[in-house]
Amino acid sequence: MLIFALVVVIIFCLNIGFAPISFSDILAILGKQIPFLNGRINLSTVSSVNQVIILQIRLPRVLAGAVVGAGLAASGVMYQGVFRNPMADSFLLGASAGAYLGYTLAIIYSSFLFLWLGLGLYQIVAFIGAAFAVSIVYSLARVGNKVQVTTLLLAGLVMNIFFLAIQNLFALRYSTLPGLAGIVTWLAGGFTNITWIDIIAVFPVVLFGIVIGYFFTKDLNMLAMGDDTAQHLGVNTERVRQALLLLGSLITAAVVCISGIIGFVGLIIPHLTRLVIGPDHRILLPTSVIVGAIFLILCDALARVATGVSELPVGVITAIIGTPVFIYLLRRRKTSYSL
């Protein structure tokens, strides 16, 4: 049902934009791309400009929203499960900032490095940045076997500021570089200039992260019982943690490379989903992934039309929605991870 909702949302949001294109045209354009169906669809009534707008501009953009939303929600589930804390999220933990710094550095130095790796290289360096940031935050926040919420948030905040500062330094120093021209505005990430290549580069990574992550959902359930209990139930807690932190960072790095930093999706979505369907990660992860995709597509659609004049970065929308949720969470349970 959720998948159906996702499809509906995708089609609905393809309709949103400056050029008015009717739903029937959209369906016709999409149908034409599907094998077996394409023979029966006549595109002669649809202008070729609209076809280009839908297929080359709007569809990649909407799909990017889906992939990024899914990825952020998935990494949110993983981080929250590992830290046993609903305040964890790739943005708050500094993973996004780390990835972003990595990405910026990769762009700056890619001309000296292996250019042939293309976006793959950016992702790898971004992944290193994200993993680095998360491991620092993790080791700072961990006291003995416990992760303190306040320390976690503070460490995440500090790392965030630090990595973004370094990133800014490099971005401004090399602002004349073609790839970096728009990068500063990415601080509140968005989906301008998304092409099919971006999606092809990112989608497999996100999918891989989610699928592998799914195999750890049982362990996440047991981690929720506490470290000792999980261990007594045969979970190698340290290894599961490391694996999930790496997977979360991998997904974060992949999505940051195409969208910049979009905050709070990984915070809100898993939390709201958990409120509705319960804490079982085996259901929570896939559901959050779809809900995250829907949420971000809608946010992006809103970002496109909200001001009526120019586009807003989608990060602005998620931050406006996410901050109240964050404050609510902070006030509701200050220390414990329970629902």
Partner: protein, 449 residues
Amino acid sequence: MVSLSIDGVECRYGSVKILEKINLSVEEGDFVGILGPNGSGKTTLLKSISRTLKPYKGTILLGKTDIYSMKSVDLAKHMAVVPQESSIGFSFTALDIVLMGRNPHMKRFQMESEKDMAIVKKAMNRTHTWQFADRPINELSGGEKQRVVIARALAQEPKVLLLDEPLTHLDMVNQLEIMDLVKELCLNEHLIVLAVIHDLNLAARYCTSAILLKNREIFAAGTLDKVLTSENIKSVFQVDAIVKKSPVTNSLYIIPLSPQKSTSPRNCAIHLICGAGTGTLIMKALVDEGYKVTAGVLNMLDTDYETSELLKVPTVNEAPFSPITEQTKRANLKMMSKAAIVVITSVPFGYGNLPNLEAALETIKRGVKTYVIDEVPIESRDFTGGKATGLLSELRKFGAIFIKHPSELPTLVNATHDMMELRKRSPTDIPGHVKEAAKAITQPTFRKE
């Protein structure tokens, strides 16, 4: 045949030693109670056995394998842990929780099989948790929650079951049910059970053996009769306790008295006429206050007799269940002649112990201060056809002070004693108001009916 052997284990938190020189060997079917005061290292010991806290020194072998060289999954197939308090704040259902117990037996990509479900159902039936299998765990009561956690442990099909104070927050029924269940598992499934238990009586009733920890080391280990002795309890917990064998459960039971107070000894003898346990707490209170307490005549094996042995209170004794003879009565009178104060508890009187009251009457006639604790009306504990009642009224005539509750006694006795001391020191120098005050305290005339 599974065995657990702990050899020379020493545990530290940072550089602080928590446990040392722990040696222990446990076999199938053993139900070992880990006992000791707070901070003696009980939980730490359990943690090191459950692989949560790696010992600084020493080895813990399960069969012939060092548990710290095993994978968590492999250890979890053999060992299950019921933690002190399961902080499950989630809406996982009871069934979800118990299914987690199957985790060590499943591969990562495997779903629960029918066999797993059958094992889980059996575990839940045994713990009477199946009826709320679908309820969220955080809506269950403390006892139900604990039973679910025990079911999860059973679903692991362990050979070793570790319980860390499994009974905290549980009411009597739940405590007994859970202990019965664990005991049964221990016997029928040949489990090794190690349990940290605070309640010595529950330990005494269910465990097959025990270790008593004191100051990070094993103070005593072995069978219950060997471990749970008054001497051991006194030196480990600093509490005087009476240890008896219950004819009902055929196990030891322990009656702890209040912890020893450190008061300076008083040069004043008090004789207690008591029996059937009515004198135990009074004896303890007076000994704590520093008096030289004597008691008699007591039948051997009487609870008060055992207390007197424990507190090293001199007594005049009679054979068990025998009436007081003329000879022992005289011995008692001789002992009473040294006492400055005589206290008579609310003991029931029959022909067997009536001579004690006669002796008290003789003593009060010599002017010895006498207190009668009249907590239970004499009519209901007089089995001599009114003779005891008569003797008590005689005592009242001669100035015996009747008090309603034993807790008032120490204050009164202290006041009497202080006044005697004052008199001895300087009979003429006592200021009038002190005399008045002392008189008011020692002679609560309002209590005379």
